[in-house]
Amino acid sequence: MSERMEVTVAGVTLKNPVMSASGTFGNGQEYAEFFDLAKLGAVVTKGVSLTPWEGNPTPRVAETPSGMLNAIGLQNPGIDVFIERELPKLREVREAGTRIIVNVCGHSVEEYVGVIRRLADEPVDLLEINVSCPNVKEGAIAFGQDPEMLRDVTKACKNAAKQPVIMKLTPNVTDIRVLARAAEEGGADAVSLINTLTGMKIDVERRKFLLANRTGGLSGPAIHPVAVRMVYEAAHAVRIPVIGMGGIASGTDAIEMMLAGAAAVAVGTATLHEPAAMPRIIGEMEAYLDRHGIASVRELIGAVG
């Protein structure tokens, strides 16, 4: 792949702007059966916590028009198993120049910091901190919903981290610009957005919630316009790079996100629907550059007007 697809995020160069969205790609191995993972700009892993998390009861997923709700509850084996079993499997992909971004979750600042410390000397290029997790100390409100809390958790993560830190913002806030600025003030090297929008679905015939957890996060094409708007707002509120995601299913969607101000993009739900969605999207982005005679994909970042 030529240099024209390269982008730089938080000082790290990606061979192209496309990465997996956390939680929709496992830790990559399952998809290696469908395409060469080294085609990706980066692999973003499933959220990992300090200890194993069981997640929520089932049903955990429900379909909605052009989207889905999920309430997985961040089931994962914890950082020890992750380092021992999962990270080594990504070594080859990393050696081929695809960046490894580890998504981190926690119920307290100490838990985030604990995971980050364990990753200090591991083959990981960037950390993505999922601040949609409930803060158990502060009455389970998400870290990412309060600017003060977000600034503090960002600072703590930055202090503990050897790798650059991306704060992954939740869209379930009144003004995303305030939260993006709080992350920047806390020292974040980049922000990524959007995580899922909280939703609910009721089975009208049975008069029951479809998800055992009652609420779940909405993702997929249904949220794309909301994501584009929020990426645009965040990109204009901060100087650090923005990674855009939410409903990207085509090269056009990815370009749209970059025009709104994203320096790179992540693809989630589309992969669940079509395992090889990401290499297709990369190809479509290249075709767009050809068609418009654009020398570098970097020219597209924020180029709407």
């Binding site: 399952e30 069981e54 089932t58 955990r60 997923v61 999920n70 997985i72 629907h273």
Partner: protein, 273 residues
């Protein structure tokens, strides 16, 4: 294990078997690696319906997969409108399938209830063929127990004829014996050593209980159950489809196994009922 693949399958035929029950024949390279108890994900042509529709493999061979399904919502209704020559996106073959080696030299019961009947056709056929060939892995005996609600909801029944002893069960007694498949197995097969089952949860729970009871009485009996859950990926990445297990699971080590990957077939002792 064979590779999973996503491809566009061609519809070779479709027929209606009963009210709301359809049998779809697909030409696909996935057919040749299919094992009984595995399933495929079918995707809707309508892109506003993103999630896969998991459907069990009812039969496989000669480059064709047969899927038998009930129309319950928009997705399956879309499939019911497929005609020969149409195309449908498919991902497979998924899941572990039944451990048929466990049948070697033992008395086997193959049982399905309602929409759990289809995958038992492929299972029963392979076991029967082993018996006919006097294969080393052949069961010592084969009883098939399809269960239905009533005569109106019967499908595939005739196709089991010829695969050993066939005993029907129905809730109202309008076909076969009145009662559940467990009732029939309890009353009419005192020699079951391996049970392969697929069907609604209450049926599987009762079979698991039956096997437990027999083990309590000193019998060596294994009951394999095929489970269902809502799925998003079908290949083990989203963790949407888990079931509570008695042992820690291989993936997250938290007693939550993925039905799409570690399952859909489990030894009934692995499940927290």
């Amino acid at each position: 294990m064979s590779r999973k693949q996503e491809e566009t399958a061609r519809v070779a035929g479709q027929e209606q078997l009963a009210e709301g029950i359809f049998s779809l024949l697909l030409e696909t390279s996935l057919a040749d690696s299919a094992r009984p108890g595995q399933f495929v994900n079918l995707y809707c042509g309508d892109r506003s319906r993103l999630l896969p529709r998991p459907i069990s493999i009812c039969e496989a061979g000669d480059g064709r997969l047969r899927l038998v399904y009930r129309t319950v919502g928009e997705g399956t209704r879309e499939f019911a409108a497929l005609r020969p020559g149409d195309e449908v996106r498919i991902l497979g073959c998924l899941g572990n399938g039944y451990d048929l080696e466990a049948a070697a030299g033992r008395h086997v019961v193959v049982t399905g209830g309602g929409l759990g009947v289809p995958p038992m056709l492929f299972t029963a056929r392979l076991l029967w063929e082993r018996m006919e060939r006097h294969d080393a892995l052949a069961p010592a005996g084969l009883t098939v127990v399809p269960g239905y609600r009533d005569r109106q909801t019967v499908f595939l029944d005739r196709e089991f004829e010829g695969y050993g002893r066939v005993l029907y069960a129905s809730d109202d007694g309008s076909i076969g014996t009145k009662g559940t498949v467990t009732d029939v197995i309890r009353a009419q097969t005192d020699d079951a050593e391996v049970i392969y089952a697929c069907g609604p949860l209450p049926m599987l729970r009762s079979l698991a209980g039956f096997a437990e009871e027999k083990r309590g009485a000193g019998l060596n009996i294994t009951c394999y159950v095929s489970l269902e859950e809502r799925m998003a990926c079908g290949i083990g990445t989203c963790l949407g489809c888990v079931v509570k297990t008695t042992e820690v699971d291989a993936h997250s080590r938290v007693h939550n196994a993925r039905i799409c990957t570690e399952g859909p077939v489990f030894d009934s002792r692995q499940i927290v009922w």
